[in-house]
Symmetry: C2
Subunit: 608 residues, 2 copies
């Protein structure tokens, strides 16, 4: 061992002990004939004092930032204590030292507020990882994983490894494939998730399975997506939706407690997908703050159970609202005094291409109870007041209204709500609000193929009350224009998403476990029997041999860690992430391969 102690461990009680430390030189400071060095390792920082007697040796072997140093000396009480660090009461009076390795000057400073840009830090990730800020993230990641494993172990889940070299069955996202040298012309695929394998484990009676496992998706990378990512993947036998919700809100609460010391004792909020879309315009609402949507106008088929409020805005010949499919208002609390500049900025914000609205209507509900709007020409104060009441605005609020096509307007209002929430400081990084979103539609309509696609995945069961509808009806859509009238359009999935602070951190479902229902599902997705057999014959086969009712969930581990760490970026919580082109710029991968490899794999390039 190159050390007797770590750099985080010595205290006043160790004074006069002889110690050997090893670590990295964080700083070198000379005070007259004395040299102070801060020595850093994973566990902390300890101050070293090189007295005059070592100066000759120091001159011959000058120390630099990030040198690897081993010192032996005596633990002394510091005269000038540093209460910021646990080792701040002591320093080591160095008797002898050895430079174990040198360092050239790092391309950026190894500090929390580094001067290194993103590209530079990624290229030298091994130096970036030395920064306390990044180290804390990886420590948090380890703590989250360990907490999850402990909880799941106590609940009798078993970690069972599923294979990485499987079969390509693209359905939705693209697979990464791996040519098989031993089976020329054939390819493995890397799993997008262990979905079918964990279901087989349920068929095999393993009852409770989990795995913290890498998954792979070959997608064009949006910001903050990674081609390889990690899931906490779980599955249970003999359960209904309620069992899963209880079990896994328990998991997240345990992680809160273990990792953040937060007692999340309240029960987790729940809402249906329809409620979420209606109240927040979004299937993963951030419920840390209120500011709910007021749907002044909406297409009846989208929300068949909701009350029409359009009388509040109709009849004044205001074309923007009259011609819009959807009109939605929100009330920004305490913003009635926004200046013209501020409302103009909001208007510009919603007109950005990413949001894509034509404009923004506002109503100031002044603290004196009067109302002033950008649509005073059309709406008198009484009408404005009625709208304000519908939005549940109070004096002092600023009401913002967007109008346009349903999907875009709803999404824009949701974005505007989040934008304002951020601006008003309502989205606190140290506040955590969990939410279950339930009752998703089972199917989405794929216009290009005039067929259904599975909103979650093809293994998700319909709600028990919708099973018969699914079995009794032909999935074929006779008339594309009337797809909404097809009975399948209203089937709800027995699925659930867990949302944390406006981020989907997990999702799952009760699965289909009956062969006939699974075949019906595949057929609905446009798979004929031959394709069903080729892709999922093993699963349909397994369902013939006593498949139990089962369901599960998968959590996005990277995302969960980043939210718990108070960061927007999952990349900060991955030791060696890839950039937006899927490249690892540190090792420079992907890269070309040798001719011999092409030859052995019996493939060649076919570049466009």
């Amino acid at each position: 061992m190159f050390r007797t102690h770590t750099c985080g461990e010595l205290r006043l009680s160790d004074v006069n002990q002889t110690t050997t430390l090893a670590g990295w030189v964080q700083t070198v400071r000379k005070f007259g004939s004395i040299t102070f060095v801060d020595l850093r390792d994973r566990y902390g920082i300890t101050q070293l004092l090189f007295a005059e007697n070592l100066n000759e040796q120091l001159d011959a072997n000058p120390l630099g930032r990030e040198f690897v140093l081993q010192v032996t000396g005596t633990v002394n009480e510091r005269s000038n204590k540093n209460s910021q660090i646990p080792t701040g009461d002591v320093e080591i009076l160095v008797a002898s030292f050895t430079i174990l390795n040198k360092s050239i000057t790092p391309p950026f400073t190894i500090q929390d507020d580094t001067d290194g840009g993103d590209d530079l830090r990624m290229k030298y990730r091994f130096l970036d990882l030395r920064r306390q800020a990044v180290k804390k993230n990886l420590e948090l990641r380890y703590a989250v994983g360990r907490s999850a494993r402990n909880y799941l172990h106590e609940k009798q889940f078993m970690d069972i490894e599923t294979p990485f070299l499987i079969k390509s069955t693209p359905e939705g996202a693209r697979d990464f494939v791996v040519p098989s040298r031993m089976n020329p012309g054939q390819f493995y695929a890397l799993p997008q998730s262990p979905q079918t394998f964990k279901q087989l484990l349920m068929v095999s009676g393993y009852d409770r399975y989990y795995q913290i496992v890498k998954c792979f998706r070959d997608e064009d990378l949006r910001a903050d997506r990674q081609p390889e990512f990690t899931q906490i993947d779980c599955e249970m036998c003999f359960v209904e939706q309620e069992d899963i919700l209880q079990m896994f809100e328990g998991l997240i609460k345990r992680i809160f407690k273990d990792v953040k010391n937060i007692d999340y004792t309240e029960s987790v909020a729940r809402m249906t997908w329809e409620q979420a879309m209606w109240m927040y315009g979004n299937d993963k609402p951030d419920i840390r703050f209120d500011m709910q949507l007021c749907n002044l106008k909406f297409p009846a088929h989208s929300f068949p159970h909701q009350t029409d409020l359009s009388s509040l805005i109709n009849g004044v010949d205001f074309k923007v609202f009259d011609e819009a499919e959807t009109v939605i208002a929100i009330a920004a609390p305490g913003c009635s005094e926004f200046t013209r500049k501020q409302t103009d900025e909001l208007t510009e914000w919603v007109k950005r291409p990413q949001i894509g609205m034509k404009g923004l209507v506002y109503i100031k509900y002044n603290t004196d109870g009067t109302l002033k709007s950008s649509i005073d020409k059309f709406y008198n104060e009484e009408k404005l007041k009625a709208i304000a009441q519908a939005v549940k605005a109070v004096p002092g609020d600023l009401i913002l209204i967007l109008a346009g096509a349903e999907e875009r307007t709803r999404k824009a209002t949701s974005e505007l709500r989040l934008h304002l929430g951020q601006q008003l400081g309502l989205r606190k990084t140290d506040e955590f609000k969990l939410l279950w979103v339930l009752d998703f539609p089972l199917f989405e309509y794929a216009e290009e193929d005039n067929r259904w696609v599975a909103r979650h995945h093809p293994f998700t069961a319909p709600k028990p009350s919708d099973i018969q509808t699914m079995i009794d009806n032909n999935p074929v859509i006779e008339s594309a224009a009337d797809y909404l009238k097809h009975p399948y359009a209203n089937i709800k999935a027995n699925a659930y998403d867990m949302v944390l602070n406006g981020n989907e951190i997990g999702g799952g479902s009760i699965r289909i476990y009956q062969k006939e229902l699974q075949q019906k599902m595949f057929a609905a997705l446009g798979m004929d029997e031959a394709e069903q057999q080729h892709k999922f014959g093993f699963l349909l086969g397994a369902f013939e041999y006593g498949a139990p009712p089962h369901g599960g969930i998968a959590f996005g581990f990277d995302r969960l860690c980043s939210i718990l760490g108070g960061s927007e970026s999952i990349r900060d919580f991955i030791a060696f992430p890839k950039n937006n082109s899927g490249r690892d710029v540190m090792i420079d991968a992907p890269a070309t391969i040798d001719d011999k490899q092409f030859e052995e794999l019996q493939i060649k390039l076919n570049l466009k």
Copy 2:
């Protein structure tokens, strides 16, 4: 929840409780008007009693093997108790039941001694996994993993995930590669191990890293090798060999205790590679039994430090020994009474092509002290006795002698020793003997390229005393014939293998952490500077910024589990293994991919 209890949980103390169970029908037995069913789940088996009142319903819904059944009833004390199972004191008097799912007849019986052959069981692995024998293996695997994680956590190791999509740097084994759609013409590789990444984590100061991680090797599969396999992968900073040995024999001892309840308190045996080859003919000796090799003749350059015993066999004009490069004897304890048939069988055994010897010499050391051999013509009793003494044989032993070329003879003697150990019951599956093998040669000679190859891998450091030899000498081998005279031939690696019962379960080394030494190593392996930069530029770069002394080890998780489970086959300890052609016969992978996938990846087949 479909149940209130599991099938493994009810006891006498639960009598009169109402309970709901769910599970699989293991057996159905009719006794007159009463039906007994054994209901099975992961946790156990509970007996169900269907009384006469349910017969009508049972006739309408007959139960079959592997049906999924839910029953509600009352816990009763059994009159006819079964002490073999923990639930054997009770049975459930069924009040109502529901068949949750049916099963067609399984292709083999779901029992420990199944009638299913290997191929059938692999095709229906989801049924095979239901067998208690297989379930126990996966439970053991989970227990080993959990024990390892707990130990490593307590020792301040951090689980840090390393990437799966990396760069191909084939050195030894072949990489699996993954075409990158976003970077046409370029490929990722799947890691053969996280070696360079864990070293970078040490450079980054993470101090103690571990991961239980999948690795990939595209090799022609020998029996019991898998293209994807799992390692317990560990690395530590600021350590010397002794620290690693202590830390990781601690790990294995902890696993023994947690998983097998074995107190392995004795210190782990150690021997050098040379001793292992000398005494056992093998670098992973099974030391559960003695039967050491007696080297009667050997090439001096192979064992420069050993005493020559050839006078014992020379001078009698026995050509078989005189012309052999190597002559090795072993004494099989208590086998002097072997019949002619038995010695003939042994002779046939060593003549098999896998062993490849020409014959076998034997000396019977009878219990009366007399000696009788197959070479009496050449060796008188006195000479035989001298040989017997050299072999440390005692009356009652059978001495077996092999002669031939060094490598083949040594290997054959080792195999013969293991074969006899097995035959004599000396290799007990419930006995566990650990061994560290140390001081391997750093290099092996590659005849075809007249250069060195790394015996372990290119990141292994030489022993401290050999570093200067490595630095001071040119790695180029001037004369192929004299390669043994090159100073590099005698450099020992700072490496260690952990051997359990004759199996290598782990191996590792102290790593090179100095750029110049690493470059020297790469050069010795025939890599010019451009190739070094292309393949390992990131590592050489990292070594410039303060790389600490470090070392580590990786355990073969599949193998470790199989030995602890008393099995020869790692496949029995993997949930979804592949066959010897790398195929998953259950899901039928690898398989062809779509034209669209080829097009997007910009590759095409180039079949021979």
